[in-house]
């Protein structure tokens, strides 16, 4: 529904009661990232720890969600168990459209349920149900139960945690609709703290185009269907489809290996001939069953492979479908020295069940493998004979990590660097704000992830800059990072899938906003993007971010990329310059007025 304000469901899990709240600020904070940060300023407690039950867990969609293709993401915002600071994590699946058709711009969960529970939300339903029988269940099993407990098959999105979230792992994700995730920075642990095993959002409303009454700020124009058709055409043209649909992001595996930018065996190398066993081509040829899509996205980038398991001697098999992407193949493939496609999928399957973030889990185990080889941790602590390439050991270790099987895995679940501070080996913990994403492209990317708002490769196009720039110009590099940010902040406030950023250029985005009645936002995109960027940074700084204290572990200075060895002095200069600029962006406002 088009509104000049935000319609929020504020759910108090302690009381088991919800409240529909009208929040002003549509033209200022847009939705998605902007709305989430605004809601954190309203309901968050920057000075209290992440696991304080009063801290909010926020899920926000944007003004274009459902109205245009690839406007298919939900932004989760929370105080992260990973760094105890404000964080964002994004997911697709059906999450965004389900929220749209439940007719909320955001869900804000506060408090803590008395017993393990599930939350059912729809346009005509708010119900907190006790479900202690689900506690301890893996993230695939709990979804099967939820399908029986929550109405709305087909138009429902199920968000749930596995054992990792229950154990408050800083790398626990929220699994969304089987193949998507609020992956990074530990949102699953926040649900765990709230005693919330799952949320089912039923999208059962049908929204009119005529403004729908006095509460609405705008109406959908007559040009809207035509504009939709044009955007749909652009997004489904052959080039776009080929990039994300054909091999999908897995196509990057061989490409980055060729560029000496694919992290191997805890970043001890950036290229290896064994890549052919885990290339996008190999996955497509051997393992690909089919594609799937987020609701509202005709591109369908989700690639689904399978694992087959012999459970009895006389050829009795079971199989499960497992999705793969570039990041997963890097994190539990090359980073762990695993070079067979089916082995990668076996590990991913365990990751999914445990409700772990695959990137963090893979990179953390890569550190543990090297730490074991160097004698910093004992075989008794590791529980498994971790060795690069041994997929069976990594499957079991991933389960130990999810279930926090002993003190070592409890420590590791708080992050590789956290564990390294206790056991040693900080130099080779591949952590850039959080466990690295799979882009060993060079100095600018390492600095961008280490200091970036989400510590994500999607915070900026730094990895692309590294691949096309040989000069070592600190000012230009930092300017690039800063200039790239407001546009992305605006897009994630819509809330778009960033795969669509090549199509949703500013003029088209403005047209889209205008066509559904958000003329104010359409006119002020640059200002709103900048305001949102600053609000996000202010919120982050208010919760304790200190960029000047962030250090980039030595391992990153030891690698070689296509440009040759990384230049530690250049990287350090970039780090200092970017940190300084971020401190300016995150300065608290002098008066109390927003923005």
């Amino acid at each position: 529904m088009i509104r000049d304000h935000f319609r929020i469901l504020l759910m108090d899990l302690t009381a088991g009661k919800g409240k529909v709240v009208k929040v002003e600020g549509r033209d200022q904070w847009a939705g998605g990232s902007g709305l989430a940060a605004h809601l954190f300023t309203l309901y968050g407690h920057p000075e209290r720890p992440w696991d304080d039950p009063d801290q909010p867990l926020i899920f926000a969609i944007g003004p274009l969600t459902g109205y245009f293709p690839l406007m298919s993401k939900t932004v989760a915002a929370f105080k992260s168990p990973y760094h105890d600071q404000y964080a964002e994590s994004h997911a697709g699946g059906r999450s965004a459209l389900a929220l749209r058709f439940a007719d909320y711009d955001a869900l804000v969960l506060v408090g803590r349920a008395k017993r393990p529970s599930v939350l059912l939300v729809g346009s005509r339903m708010v119900e907190l149900k006790e479900a202690p029988f689900l506690w301890g269940m893996d993230a695939l099993g709990v979804a099967k139960q939820l399908r029986q407990m929550a109405p709305g098959s087909g138009h429902r999105s199920i968000w749930r945690i596995g054992p990792a979230g229950e154990k408050r792992s800083a790398m626990a994700c929220i699994n969304v609709d089987t193949y998507r995730h609020f992956g990074r920075l530990g949102s699953g642990a926040v649900m765990g703290v709230k005693n919330l095993k799952a949320i089912a959002v039923r999208g059962d409303a049908s929204l009119p185009f005529d403004g729908g009454g006095e509460a609405c700020g705008g109406t959908v124009s007559r040009d809207y269907p035509k504009l939709f058709q044009e955007i749909h055409r652009q997004l489904t043209d052959t080039q776009m489809m080929s990039k994300y649909h054909n091999l999908g992001t897995a196509g990057n595996v061989a490409a980055l290996n060729e560029l000496k930018s694919l992290p191997w065996r805890n970043l001890q190398a950036t290229t290896d001939a064994k890549v052919e066993g885990i290339s996008g081509e190999r996955f497509a040829d051997e393992t690909l069953l089919r594609n799937a899509a987020c609701a509202g996205c005709p591109v369908g980038c989700v690639h689904i492979g399978f694992v087959r398991e012999k459970f009895m001697s006389d050829n009795r098999y079971l199989y499960r479908q497992v999705s793969y992407d570039y990041e997963l193949i890097f994190a539990v493939g090359s980073m762990l020295g695993v070079t067979r496609s089916f082995d990668v999928l076996r590990i991913v399957d365990v990751v999914e069940k445990q409700g772990l973030d695959a990137m963090s889990g893979g990179v953390a185990l890569a550190w543990a493998t090297e730490a074991l080889a160097k004698g910093l941790i004992t075989p008794e602590q590791a529980l498994e004979p971790l060795a690069f390439g041994d997929a069976g050991a990594f499957c079991r270790a991933m389960e130990h990590l999810g279930r926090a099987a002993n003190e070592f895995y409890r420590d590791l679940a708080q992050g590789a660097l956290h564990a390294a501070r206790k056991y040693g080996g900080e130099d080779f913990a591949c952590v850039l704000g959080q466990e690295m994403a799979g882009y060993a492209t060079g100095e600018l990317y390492f600095v961008a992830q280490a200091l970036g708002f989400r510590h994500s490769h999607l915070d900026s196009a730094a990895y692309s800059w590294d691949q096309t720039h040989t000069e070592k110009d600190v000012d230009k590099g930092v300017e690039f990072l800063l200039a790239d940010e407001p546009g992305r902040a605006f897009l994630t406030s819509m809330a778009a899938c960033l795969f669509a950023r090549g199509v949703y250029k500013d003029p088209l985005l403005a047209q889209a906003l205008e066509s559904v009645g958000y003329a104010g936002l359409a006119r002020n995109m640059a200002r709103v993007g900048e305001d949102i960027r600053r609000l996000r940074w202010r919120t982050r700084f208010a919760t304790g971010f200190a960029p000047s204290e962030v250090r980039i572990p030595k391992r990153f200075a030891e690698v070689s990329t296509w440009k040759g060895p990384v230049d530690p002095a250049y990287m350090e200069a970039l780090r200092q310059a970017y940190a300084k600029r971020l401190e300016e962006l995150g300065k608290p406002l002098e008066d109390k007025a927003p923005a």
Binding site: P69, D204, A205, S206, H232, A292, G300, R320
Partner: protein, 144 residues
Amino acid sequence: MKILLASRMERCIGCNSCALACARLVHKRLSWSTAGIRIHSSGGISTGFLALTCLACAPPPCAAACPTGAYTPRKGGGVVVKKDLCIRCGACARACPVNAIYLDFDGSPYVCIHCGRCVAFCPHDCLEMAEVEDLRAGTKEVPS
């Protein structure tokens, strides 16, 4: 006379572009449910998708059940709908053997009118408009 066939649903990726297009273009709403075609997972996303849509019965049981003449048989199968005659009794939806008619919260029915406007939005070519004569004559396979 052509009818809509969801002939190749094994290819479906669950994007809902068809349902959204029907709601947007035919029913003038933003919805994935008040539409003549609805996409459901067949028991969790890992098991694939199915389309709930009118199979163009001839004669159509929904039209027979309609007490006010809002639903009348369409040439070639399916129904012609006159919304202003509908009293929102839901008899059509109850009569449909394949759950193809959706009732919104007010009881208004939504059914496929075989206009084919959804077809172009399917990225995997799951949908097609087919000559009903070919289907009835057995020269074209009727999809399950």
